[in-house]
C-alpha cells in the first residue's frame, strides 16, 4: 500500500467520523438556535421553523447515507476517531479527562442510517401533520434534541459520551409525551416514563463506573482490548441490561410504553415504534463484546426477552385501542430482538431491528386509518369482519378464561403492582416526613402538625396590600375528621403572613 493510499484512507476515516458527528451537531445546533430564539423572546415563526427543520432533516439524511456509502467503500472497517477533550481536571497525580470521539462500525452505522432515514421521513411527515398546531415549535425542538441525542448514543466512542446522548433522549422523550401538557394524562404518563428512564439511567451510570473501575477507561475501543473477568462482565452486563430495559420497554418496565402514546402520532411512531424503543437493544449490541463472556447474563437476557414477547403478545391482543395494541406489539418484537441478542445472533437482531422499526413506523403513522381500513376490508369482504380471538376461547378452559382475560386486559397486573409499590413508598416517605417534622417540633419545642401538613403549608404568601384569602367557612354537612387523636377539626386553613 502506498502512502498515498494510506492518506486517502485516513481522510475517508476522518470524513466518516465528521459525517457521523455532524448527525449530532447539526440537530444540536438547530436546537440551540431555536431555543435561543425562544429565550430572547423572538421565537421563530412557523415558516422559519419549518424551513430549518426541513433543511436539518435533509442534511442529516444525506450525512447518514453518505457516511454509509463511504463506510461501504472502505470495506466496513470500524472508524475510531477522538476529536479532543471536553474538559479535564487533574492535580496531585490524579487526572480526569472527558474525551469526545466517535466509533463507527457496522452496527452503529446501520443505526445511524436508520436514525437519519426515519428522523428525516417522520420529520417530513410532521411538517405537514403539525402545520399550524399549537406548540409545533416545541415539537420540532424536541425532535431535534432527540435526533441529536440518539445519534450521539449511536456514534459515541465512550460509554460516558453515550450516557450524555442517552439522557438527552430521555428528556426529549418525556417532553414529547407531555406535549399536550394542558391535559392531565400526558403529564402523568410523561412523569412515569421519565421516572423509569431515570432509574434505568442510574444503572447505565453505574455500569460506566464498573467499566472504568475494571478497565480504567470508558472508551469502548480501549475497553474491548482487555476482556473483563466473568464476574465483572456479568455485573457490567447486568447493569447495561437493566439500563436498556427501560428504554426498550422490557419487563418489568413495559407498562409505560402504551402510556407514552400521548403525543402527536408521528412522535409516537418515531419514539415508541421505531428509534427510542430500540435504543436498549442497541446499547446491548454496542457493549456486547464486554459482556458476552458471561453465560448467566445471556440466559437472563433471553429469558427477559422471551417473557416480554409472550406477555406482550397476550396483553396486546386484549387491548382495545389501536395505539396500545401497537405498543405491545412493539414491546413483544423488541423482546424477540433481546432473545436474538442473548443468543448471540447479532446480525439477525440488527436486521430485525431495521425491519421492525420501519414496519412499525408505517403502522403507527397509519394508526388513525384503522376505522377506514376496517370499512374497506368489510367492503372487500362484503360482510362484517369475522370475530377474532376464538382461539383463546377454545384453548383456555372456561374457569381460567376470565382470569386470563383480565390478566391480559390489565397488562399482566404490572400497573397494579406498580401502584401498590408507589403507594408503599409514598407512605414511607410520609412517615419519614412526619418524623422530620417532629424533629423540628423537638427543636422548637412547639407542637407541630402531624400528618400531611395541610395546616402547615396552607397559608399562601400575601403581600402587604393583600388580605387573607376568602374565609374558609366550615361547610355544613361535610364532617371530615383528622386522623390521629380523633379530635374533630375542620380542614385546617391557617393563614400566615409569609412573603
Amino acid at each position: 500500500m502506498t502512502s498515498e493510499l494510506i492518506g486517502v484512507a485516513v481522510s475517508v476515516d476522518l470524513a466518516i467520523a465528521w459525517l457521523a458527528t455532524s448527525m449530532v451537531l447539526l440537530p444540536l445546533g438547530a436546537f440551540a438556535l431555536a431555543g435561543l430564539a425562544e429565550i430572547v423572546g423572538a421565537g421563530w415563526r412557523d415558516e422559519v421553523l419549518a424551513a430549518v427543520s426541513r433543511a436539518l432533516f435533509t442534511l442529516t439524511t444525506i450525512a447518514g447515507l453518505t457516511a454509509a456509502a463511504l463506510f461501504g467503500l472502505e470495506g466496513g472497517r470500524p472508524v475510531h476517531h477522538v476529536f479532543g477533550r471536553w474538559f479535564s481536571a487533574d492535580g496531585a497525580g490524579a487526572h480526569q479527562a472527558y474525551e469526545v470521539g466517535v466509533l463507527v462500525d457496522a452496527t452503529s452505522l446501520t443505526y445511524l442510517v436508520l436514525t437519519s432515514l426515519l428522523a428525516g421521513t417522520v420529520g417530513a411527515f410532521s411538517l405537514r401533520y403539525l402545520e399550524g398546531e399549537e406548540g409545533a415549535g416545541r415539537f420540532f425542538r424536541a425532535m431535534m434534541l432527540f435526533t441529536a441525542g440518539l445519534s450521539l448514543v449511536v456514534v459515541a466512542e465512550s460509554l460516558g459520551l453515550l450516557f450524555v446522548g442517552w439522557e438527552l433522549v430521555g428528556v426529549s422523550s418525556a417532553l414529547l409525551i407531555a406535549f399536550y401538557r394542558h391535559r392531565e394524562g400526558p403529564v402523568r404518563h410523561a412523569l412515569l416514563a421519565f421516572a423509569i428512564y431515570r432509574i434505568c439511567d442510574a444503572a447505565l451510570l453505574a455500569s460506566l463506573v464498573v467499566l472504568h473501575h475494571a478497565s480504567g477507561t470508558t472508551s469502548l475501543p480501549a475497553a474491548f482490548e482487555a476482556p473483563l473477568s466473568p464476574t465483572v462482565a456479568a455485573l457490567f452486563g447486568g447493569l447495561v441490561l437493566f439500563a436498556s430495559l427501560g428504554k426498550s420497554a422490557q419487563l418489568p418496565f413495559s407498562g409505560w410504553l402504551p402510556r407514552a402514546m400521548e403525543g402527536p402520532t408521528p412522535s409516537s411512531a418515531i419514539f415508541y415504534g421505531a428509534l427510542s424503543v430500540h435504543a436498549g437493544a442497541y446499547l446491548l449490541l454496542r457493549t456486547a463484546p464486554l459482556w458476552e463472556g458471561s453465560t448467566p447474563l445471556r440466559v437472563t437476557i433471553v429469558m427477559i426477552g422471551a417473557l416480554t414477547a409472550l406477555l406482550g403478545t397476550l396483553t396486546g391482543r386484549a387491548q382495545t385501542d389501536v395505539k396500545s395494541g401497537l405498543a405491545y406489539a412493539a414491546s413483544a418484537q423488541v423482546g424477540l430482538i433481546f432473545v436474538e441478542i442473548g443468543l448471540g445472533l447479532h446480525t439477525l437482531a440488527l436486521v430485525h431491528v431495521v425491519g421492525h422499526a420501519l414496519v412499525r413506523t408505517l403502522e403507527l403513522l397509519r394508526a388513525p386509518s384503522l376505522l377506514q381500513d376496517v370499512q374497506r376490508l368489510e367492503a372487500e369482504l362484503g360482510r362484517a369482519l369475522p370475530r377474532a380471538g376464538a382461539r383463546y376461547e377454545r384453548v383456555v378452559p372456561r374457569r381460567i378464561r376470565t382470569w386470563l382475560y383480565r390478566f391480559a386486559l390489565e397488562r399482566a397486573f404490572l400497573d397494579t403492582l406498580a401502584s401498590r409499590l408507589i403507594a408503599a413508598l409514598r407512605r414511607a416517605t410520609r412517615a419519614l416526613d412526619a418524623f422530620d417534622r417532629r424533629v423540628v417540633g423537638a427543636a422548637t419545642s412547639r407542637a407541630s402538625t402531624p400528618g400531611r401538613g395541610v395546616g402547615a403549608s396552607a397559608g399562601v404568601a400575601h403581600g402587604s396590600t393583600s388580605e387573607p384569602p376568602p374565609a374558609a367557612t366550615k361547610r355544613e354537612g361535610v364532617t371530615m375528621k383528622r386522623g390521629g387523636e380523633g379530635a374533630e377539626a375542620d380542614w385546617p386553613e391557617t393563614v400566615e403572613g409569609r412573603r
Binding site: F125, E184, D321, G325, A329, L362, L365, L409, R452
Partner: protein
Amino acid sequence: MTQHDTERLERAIEQAAHLLPTQAPLARFVHHNPLHTLESSPFDEAMVEAAARLGVETYLDEGSYQRALRSGRLLPADIDATLDDVGGDDRPIAAGLPGRRTLRRARLLDVDVPEARGEGVEWLLSEGDALRALPRSIPAPTRGQLEARARRFGGVDTMLPRLFEVCRALASAHAPPRHVGGRLRDRILDRLGVDPDALVHPMLIRHLAAYLDQGVAYWPMPDRDGLWSTFQRLHGAGPQPAWAVSLPDELHAVRGRSAGEQVLHELALRGIPPGAWADWLTGPLHALPGWAGMVHQLERHPELAPELPPTRLVDYLAIRLLLDRLAASYVAREAGVHVSSYDATPRGAGDREDPRGLALELYFTALRSGLGPAELERDELGAALAREVRAFDSITRRGIYHLAYERRFRVRVLDALLGHARAERAERAENTERADGRSAPRHDGRHGGRQGGRQGGRDAPPLAQVLCCIDEREESFRRHLEELEPRVETFGYLGHFGVLMRYEGLTAPRAELLCPPDVTPRHRVREVPGRSTREERDEPTARGETRARVASARAVAKRHRHLARQTLVRGGLVALTGAASAVPLVLRTLFPGVADRLARVSRTGGAASGAQAPTRLHVHREHDEPDASGHLDGYSWDEQAEIVGDVLGTIGLVSRFANVVCVVGHGSSTVNNPHAAAYQCGACAGAPGGPNARAFAVMANAPEVRARLAARGIEIPSATVFVGAYHDTTSDELTYFDDDLVPASAREAFAATRRALARACARNAHERCRRFPDAGPRRAARASLRHVRARSVDLAQPRPEYNHATNAVAVIGRRSRTRGLFLDRRAFLASYDPSLDDAEGHVLERVLARVAPVGAGINLEYYFSRVDQARLGCGTKLPHNITGLIGVMDGHGSDLRTGLHWQTVEIHEPMRLLVVVESTPELVARILERNPRLRALVEHRWVLLATIDPDRDVAHFLERTGFCEHVVEATVPEVGGSRAWYEGHEEHLAFARVTAGRAEEEPGRFREPPYRTARSERGEEADRKDARQPRREAVR
C-alpha cells in the same frame, strides 16, 4: 328496594342523562347540535344553562371578540344596536351613577381591560401600573374628573390604591357564591387539590372500552352480558391497585345485586333524597361525558352496535358510584383526613368566590365612570355598582359580544344580497333597453336573472343544468361553473335528491341509510352487477362472485395486518423482511401524490382511472311485498314520479330543459382520518351521496316516470338525459354514473358539460387552496387540482379539506338571487322558486322544514366544537387514538372525545345559521304558525331567519320582536372574476359581485375590487394566529 324506587331511579337517570353527548359511533357520524336537548329553551338561556350545568363554554372567549373589535370585524355600532335590544335601560342605577347601558357599553368597548382572578390580581397590581396611573383608555373628561378627585388624596398614585381597597371591601361583601359540585370527589378536589377521578378513570375506561369494543381487540371480552355483571365477574378476584384493594370484598358483598339496586344502595349511602337524584346523578354521569354518552346512545339505539349485548347506563352508574366511593375515601385517608359521611351537601353554603377578581372589575368600572374612593364609599352607590358589576359577568358580556358579532355578519350578508339584486335589476333594465333597440327581449322574466338567456337567443334552453347539493362547499363549484360556462344553470337541493333509501351497494358490507338521520327509509335500492338493469337483475354474474370470493380471502389475510398487528411470530417474520417497507414509508410520506398514482395504476392494471366494474341500480319495484327487514324493494313508477316531480317543482326546473341535466351527489375521500364520515354529505347521514344522485337520474330517465310527470305539467323532452354524478369535495374529482347510457343525441352536449364541469373542479380546487396554510395562496389551477388530490391521499394531512368550516348562511330562493355573487363558500344554497309556489307557501314550508334542521345541525355542531374544544369538540386530532372502532381518545385512556376536531373548526366563525328565504315576512310567519318544529327552532333562535322579497329589493330580519326591515349600510363591491377577489387571501372575505360569466363580450367591465373588506387583513390574519396560539398578554 321497591319496584317504585327502581322506576323512579330509571326516570332520574334518564333525566340526568339528557345532556350527555348523543354522538353515535364514529363510522356513523352525523352532524347534530350537541346541545340539542336544550333546543326547547331559547338560545341565550340555553347557553347560560349549559355553561352552569355542564361547565362548558358557549361563546368564544372575550379576547376573541375584543380582537374582532380591534380589527373591525365587529363594530361599536353593532354593540350599540345589540345593547338597544338586550342591554337594559339607561336610568341611573343609583344616585351619582350612570345608567346600566352606559356602564355596559363602556365595559364592552374597553378592549384593554386586564382580567385576573385571585392571586393574579395581586400580581397584576404589584407588577403593573394599574395602581400608579390612570388607564390610558379613559377619555379626557373622565380623566380630568378623576384627577380633580385625586387632589383631595394628594395625587393619583395615592388615590388609586385607596380606591382599590374600597373596591376590595365592596367585592368581599358582594362576591358571588362559590360552586363546588355535589360529589364527594368535587369537595376533595376543591380542598385537597387531588382528583380521585384520576384513580377511578383508568380502571373504568379500560372496562368500558373493552366491553364496548367493536373489533379492535383480537381477543374480545368473553361473556359480555352487561357492564355491571362483567365487571363483577372480572374484578371479583385478583390483585387491585392500592386505592381499590377492597374492591373484591365490596363486590363480594353485593353479589347478586342488580345494577339498579346497587345504584340505589350507593345513593342511600350518600344520603341523597329521591327528589335530588336526577340533579345529583348529573355529576357522576358527566365526569366522563364521552363514555357515558356512548353507553347511553347504545342503550337507546342498540342497532348502532348490533353485535353488542345490552348496554345500560344504570350498569355504568353502578360501577362508577362504587369506584367513586372507594377512590374518594382512599384519597381522604391518604391525606390524613377522615371522611365520616358521603352525604350530599348543599352547594357551597355561605362560601364565596375569591373577591379579588370582582374587585379588579369594580375598580376599572369605577375609573371608567370617574368615581373615586369617596364616592364609592357612599353606601348605596358602591353596593349598587358592585351588584351591577357582578351581574354583568363574563358570560353575559360574551353573550352581548356574540350577538353583535353575528349582527355584523348579518348586515353584510343582507347588504350584499340586496345590493346584488339592485344591480342585477338595473343591469337587466339596461339590457332590455338595448335589446329592445335591437330585437325582442331575451328574458321570459320568470326565471329572473340572466341565466342562460344571453347566448342562445330567445328562450333557447341552456347547455346543461346541474343539480347539486345545497352544501356550502358546492357554492364555489357552482359559481366557477357558471363563470366558465354561462350557458349552464345550477340548482341546489338536499344531497339525497328526495331519494330516501336504504342502499345496498354491491361491495358494501352492510346497507347504508342514505337519508337524513331522523328519517327511517321504507325503500331499498340495490346495486347489481351487469350492463343492464333489466336483464341481469338479480343473478350475480360469475365474475362478481369470483370477485367477492377473492376479496374475501384477501380481507381475511389483511385482517391480521391491520388488527392483529403482527404481534409475535407473524410479526417477527414481517419485521425481518421489513426493510422493504422503507419504500412505501418514504414514498407515502414524502410523495403522497406519486404514491397514490402508483397505487391507482397497480389497482387498475394500468387502465385509465375510473374504470369500475359495470353495475346498475335496481330502482324500480315489481311487487309490493316488503322484504324481511320491512323494506320495499325499490320504488314504483308513481313513487318515482312523485320524487322527481317534487324535486323539480321545488327547485323550479319545470321547463326549458337542457339536453343534459347533471345530478351531482357529493362525498369526500380522505385517509388517516377517523372522522371521515363527518366529511360526507350531511343530508345523507354521513355517507357519500353518489347513489342518490344516480338513483334520481335513473328515475328521471325512465319513460314511465316522464309520462307521469307530463301529466303533472312537467314535460321533459325526450332529448333530455339525466346523468348522475359524484363530486369528491376533497380531491375535486367528478365521477359519472351510467354515462354509457347517454344517448347519441346528447353525447355532444354531455361532452361539453363534462369539460365545463372538469374545469370548474380545477378552479374550485384553486379557490379552496387559498385557505390551506400549507398550500400557499398563489398557484396555478392545474397545480391546485394535483394538490388537493394529493391532500386526499396524504397520510400526513390533518386537513384534507375544511369541510363545513365556513358555513354561516343558508339562502333559500332562486339562483338568480345569488348567481354572480361571491359567497365565499359560506352559504348553503337551496333552490326554490317562489313564483311556482302556492299562495300558502307549501313548497317553501317543505324546503324550510328540510333545509333548516340539516343546516342547523351542521352549523351548531361547528359552533359548539369551535367555542369549546375541550368539552364539546374533540380537540386537535393529532394525538387521537381510535378505540373500539367507536370513537377516539386523546392518547392513552382518556374520555371518548365527541364533536369535531380542531383542524376542521379552526377557521370557523361561530355564528348561528342565518337562513335567508326569498319570500315575504307574512308568508313565512304563516308557515311558522303551521309548523311547530320549525317554529321552535326559529323562535328559540337556534337559527336566525331573514326574508328577501321575491319582487322588491327589501329584506326583513326576524328580530325577537318580529320582522324588521333591513337598512342597507353599504354597497356590494364588484369584481371581474372570483379569482381576482380571493387570490392572495387566506381570511374570510366580504361578499362581492362577480361580473365574469356573463360579460365575455364586454371585457372592459373588469374592475379591480373597490374595497376588500372593512376589516384589515392583518387583523384577520392575527385573529387566526391568535386563535391557534393564545396571545401573550401584556401587563398593564
